[in-house]
């Protein structure tokens, strides 16, 4: 297991040692530090404004053996000693609110992606093209903000649609490409973020796969009342499954039986599958998770079998299709976990996240869980629920580097702020200034 992050061993000498409580800090909902440490993102309590601070980082030094909180100057007990308020920008209008789970950062350009949403509509009218049983939100807006000054560069609006914004699950950022999973209309929107700050629609995968499919079908085929084509992505999926089962049996007579059992018997189940979640594997390939309508927002995945497809956007072909219980998919995840994060090669930070594929201690923990599992099948299903990966969900902080420190993994999800951890009620956990080594 290659240890690519040994240069960060310096942090073994630089660890939190002191806590200061009862700091007066603004009554904001603090969200995250950007990975490059340049911005602290927070939202107003009413979830309508974005408030961004510049962390000024360490500004106090003490020479001596033991530094305790009494030795720290009074300035250390003030919020504004460490953060400079840059701006407050209103993103949401009166009936909208900012979805605080959604924040994606483009490191090179210092752009941030945020989302605002109106409340969920409870009476959902059945609309043509929309999946019945999926929630509906009147308006979801994705905002592209230049974090340097808070200028809102561009927006993308979804009306009467539903994107799963909990934990940012419905969006995925890879380099300059953003994919947004529209659950209600079963469409994957691929959007490019240009350096100029424009959001440009690249393609939509769903009803149609190629850019000219809609034009071709419209000009060549008369679609009369009641006849509905299956969506393009569904056509691709069914074709793939058919060809796969066709090629599994060489004997002509047995082939039909094989297809009946494996394909036609499940035909309606395959038709009923909907896309749940999507991620980029690279600029051309998507990993799409399929499941039933009932399982869309359900937390328990056991009752609902799910499937994964690898889709090439350029050739519009499905390359692979796995059920969530497939060992093959699990072994890909075990060996190549880092590639599922699809981090950009140019991002230094993202490439240093500990995983069981790059860290022997993480792999050891995984083996412990694997050996302890009563059923390998259940273990596989549980591991595979992490896919598709939720981007920018893990901190690249050296303090979460398993080759340097050991910690309770739950901490990483509860406290996403890497250096200064802020509690809800005006407490401030501060990492003490330098101790003379």
């Amino acid at each position: 297991m290659l240890q690519v992050n040994s240069v960060r061993q310096f942090y073994e000498n630089f660890v939190p040692s002191c806590t200061i409580y009862d700091i007066d800090c603004p009554d904001n909902s603090f969200r995250k530090f950007t990975d490059d440490g340049k911005y602290l993102i927070s939202f107003s309590r009413n979830h309508q404004e974005l408030i961004v601070y510049r962390p000024t980082w360490l500004s106090f030094s003490y020479k001596g053996e033991d530094c305790d909180s009494d030795a720290l100057s009074q300035r250390a007990k003030r919020f504004d000693s460490f953060f400079i308020h840059l701006y407050t920008v209103s993103l949401a209008t009166s009936n909208e609110f900012i979805c605080k789970d959604v924040f994606l950062y483009l490191e090179g350009l210092e752009f941030g992606i945020f989302a605002t949403s109106t409340a969920q509509t409870h009476e959902v009218p059945a609309t043509e093209g929309a999946v019945n049983g999926v929630q509906c939100v009147e308006k979801i807006v994705f905002h592209l903000v230049r974090l340097e000054d808070g200028f809102v560069l561009d927006e993308k609006v979804f009306c009467n649609d539903f994107v799963n914004l909990t934990h940012s699950m419905g969006v995925f950022l890879h380099e300059d490409l953003l994919c947004i999973m529209s659950l209600r209309y079963q469409a994957i929107h691929i959007v490019q973020i240009r350096d100029s700050g424009n959001l440009v629609d690249v393609r939509i995968v769903g009803t149609f796969c190629r850019e000219d499919d809609e034009l071709f079908i419209g000009s060549h085929i008369q679609v009369t009342e009641g006849q509905i084509f299956l969506s393009g992505i569904k056509q691709r999926l069914l074709s793939y499954i058919f060809r796969k089962h066709w090629s599994e049996e060489t004997d002509q007579t047995l082939r039909i039986q094989h297809l009946k059992k494996k394909f036609y018997f499940h035909f309606q189940d395959y038709i009923d599958l909907i896309m749940w979640k999507v991620q980029f594997l690279d600029r051309h390939h998507l990993l799409i998770k399929f499941g039933s309508v009932d399982g869309v927002v359900s937390r328990t995945t056991d009752q609902h079998p799910s499937f994964f497809a690898v889709y090439n956007m350029e050739t519009t072909e499905i390359i692979s299709f796995f059920q969530n219980s497939t060992e093959e998919l699990y072994y890909l995840y075990e060996q190549f976990c880092d590639h599922f994060t699809a981090s950009s090669r140019s991002s230094l930070h993202a490439n240093f996240i500990s995983s069981h594929s790059n860290n022997i201690y993480a792999f050891d923990q995984l083996c412990v869980v694997k050996n302890r599992a009563s059923s390998f099948l259940q273990f596989v299903k549980k591991m595979v629920t992490s896919l598709p990966y939720t981007c920018q969900s893990q901190s690249p902080s050296p303090y979460f580097d398993l080759s340097l420190f050991r910690y309770d993994e739950k901490i990483e999800s509860y406290y996403p702020l890497i250096t200064i951890l802020l509690w809800m009620k005006n407490y401030c956990l501060w990492i003490a200034a330098l101790q003379q080594i």
Partner: protein, 98 residues
């Protein structure tokens, strides 16, 4: 060790005190490392060879490899299945069968 280590600090000045250079007259700066000259040209790279990073990452290569492996032994069967991949062929009136 003064001739090689100079005045570099050390925990213990007695470290390395027993080492004697094997050839006192050979100064390191005058030693030229032996260079390998090939005696044949069987391993010369092709003149137009360009070495680049594989564009597709290892995960996708594995996925494609496994997909090909599944299809390979049955290639004869799949050849019968579809006609030439080509442009989309417009059909006539759409069949009414469900």
């Amino acid at each position: 060790m003064a001739f090689l280590m100079g005045d570099w600090p050390s925990y213990d000045p007695q470290n390395f005190s027993q080492i004697r250079p094997s050839d006192p007259s050979a100064q390191p700066s005058k030693l030229t490392p032996a260079t390998y000259h090939p005696t044949h040209n069987r391993t010369v790279p092709p003149p137009n060879q360009v070495i680049t990073t594989e564009a597709r990452n290892i995960l996708l290569r594995q996925i494609y490899q496994k997909a090909e492996d599944k299809l390979r032994p049955k290639r004869a069967a799949t050849d019968l299945l579809t006609p030439e991949h080509g442009c989309k062929q417009p059909r006539g009136a759409f069949s009414n069968d469900p």
